[in-house]
Amino acid sequence: MTDLWAGFAEAARLLITLDPDLTAIALRSLQVTLCALVIACAIALPLAAFLSVKRFRWRRAVIALLNALMGLPPVVVGLVVYVLLSRSGPLGVLGLLFTPSAMIIAQVIIIVPLIASVAHQSLRELWAEYHDLLISLNTTQCQRIVALLWDGRRALLTAALAGFGRGIGEVGAIMIVGGNIDNVTRVMTTAIALETGKGNFALALGLGFVLIALAILVNLAIHWLSRTETGRQW
């Protein structure tokens, strides 16, 4: 229990002194996960809308697969991405291993199924409401997808934030493909793992609390920017 209080004290110290190492690591965490989030949303949201409006043979199988992949073990994703990006692997010539780009790739793979599954669930319900209207207006498939994505934006925000949450707190995959190199690929979670390994629980917990605060801040900021909680708009 004393460790926990020491952790709070350490978190306060890190924040008050604006520790330069902490700032660099925190910004790198945000950079990696926000990049991964933007890419993952660009893939997952249209995919979710497509799965809602289009009926095709393997639709159920694809949805079931996406749902199952929500539970992808990050360490396995990390290992697969490592093998692919390794100099002795098929994509080795790109020289991406142990760079933030490799970490972004791993995180995209981890969060796409989560965002797509959550988004599909809500878009499917929206489609049930809009189905007759959009069909009778003789809209194209593309217009339907755009209409669903726009009118379902608030539910999609929740899907994106779920993806952000999974990405920012992830350690297994980025430890393997990033390598936790100081000043290059060290982020909040890998720094916490490192300090825990050294037995510096206070510092590790301090970093942990800062990470949680960061996640809350980002969530609040996105909600505020999209004004989801104001009366007239939603």
Binding site: S86, R87, S88, G92, F98, G179, I181, T196
Partner: protein, 275 residues
């Protein structure tokens, strides 16, 4: 006077590296946790202009990264595995740099009586005899390999041992955390132990047997693995690591008033002359 200043300018230009270059080196967790890297890396950068990026992994993974050509050099401590790596052509050669030692850590009340043992083998036999909980790294790291060889030397078959022998499959720090939580015995390198922040009721019980010495060696990765391998930087780093400057820093590094590493590289003639 003018000649003098020209000479000075040339000397300065050659002495101060113009551009920092990056190379990747895989090192063991025990080396990194010792804190020596934090002392050496800024000096390496200042002297040679090389920005050494450390990948802190177990010895097994470090050799694997070298074999895949994903790093430029390796600094590890598992002689047999290192020699195998050189024999298979993954590394060009193996150069000994320094050593530290392993110590037996355990609960302060020492139920197995290891503190009074004459040899490392006797200490381990005491632990096995008392069936006292023992945490093993169990991760195929250099420390783990060393531990297994010590058990074998003590004539104890830990593969079929009872549940007092607990292989956790984790790095040095994580394994020490586990041992601290279970109040168990564990084999650790001295550096990791001294730097460890969560000692709890554990204490250093046995050390000093020469079989516990832990030799670190530097292995440059074979440049045949591809044009991306910075063998030139690895060779420059090796030269620095075996220089008088490195010897001074390594021997002078202390934690809690104790010297952790002993420099024992064979210096080249030019390095000796510089000294």
């Amino acid at each position: 006077m003018r000649i003098m200043s020209t000479v000075l300018a040339v000397a300065l230009a050659t002495a101060t590296p113009v551009l920092a270059e990056d190379m990747k080196m895989a090192v063991t967790t025990s080396f990194h946790n010792s804190g020596l890297a934090d002392v050496l890396l800024p000096e390496i950068k200042a002297d040679t202009g090389i920005d050494v990026q450390l990948l802190v992994v177990g010895t097994g993974q470090a050799l694997k990264l070298g074999a895949a050509g994903d790093v430029d050099a390796i600094l590890v401590h598992a002689r047999a595995a290192e020699e195998k790596s050189v024999a298979e052509g993954h590394a060009t050669h193996r150069r000994e740099i320094m050593y530290n030692d392993f110590v037996v850590i355990g609960p302060s009340d020492d139920p197995a009586g290891t503190a009074d043992s004459e040899t490392a083998a006797a200490a381990l036999q005491g632990i096995a005899g008392a069936q006292a909980p023992f945490v093993s790294r169990g991760d195929d790291s250099g420390t783990h390999k060393k531990e297994l060889s010590l058990w074998a030397a003590a004539g104890i078959d830990v593969a079929n041992a009872g549940d007092w022998y607990r292989a956790v499959g984790a790095g040095m720090g994580a394994a020490l955390n586990t041992a601290s939580g279970m109040n168990a015995y564990i084999l650790s390198d001295r550096a990791s132990w001294l730097n460890f922040g969560n000692k709890g009721d554990l204490g250093l019980l046995f050390a000093g047997d020469p079989v516990l010495f832990n030799q670190y060696a530097f292995l440059p990765v074979n440049p045949d693995k591809g044009d991306h391998i910075r063998n030139d930087l690895a060779m420059q780093l090796e030269e620095w690591l075996t220089s008088a400057r490195a010897a001074e820093l390594i021997n002078g590094y202390q934690v809690a008033g104790e010297q952790l590493f002993t420099f024992n590289a064979q210096m080249t003639d030019t390095a000796k002359a510089a000294e």
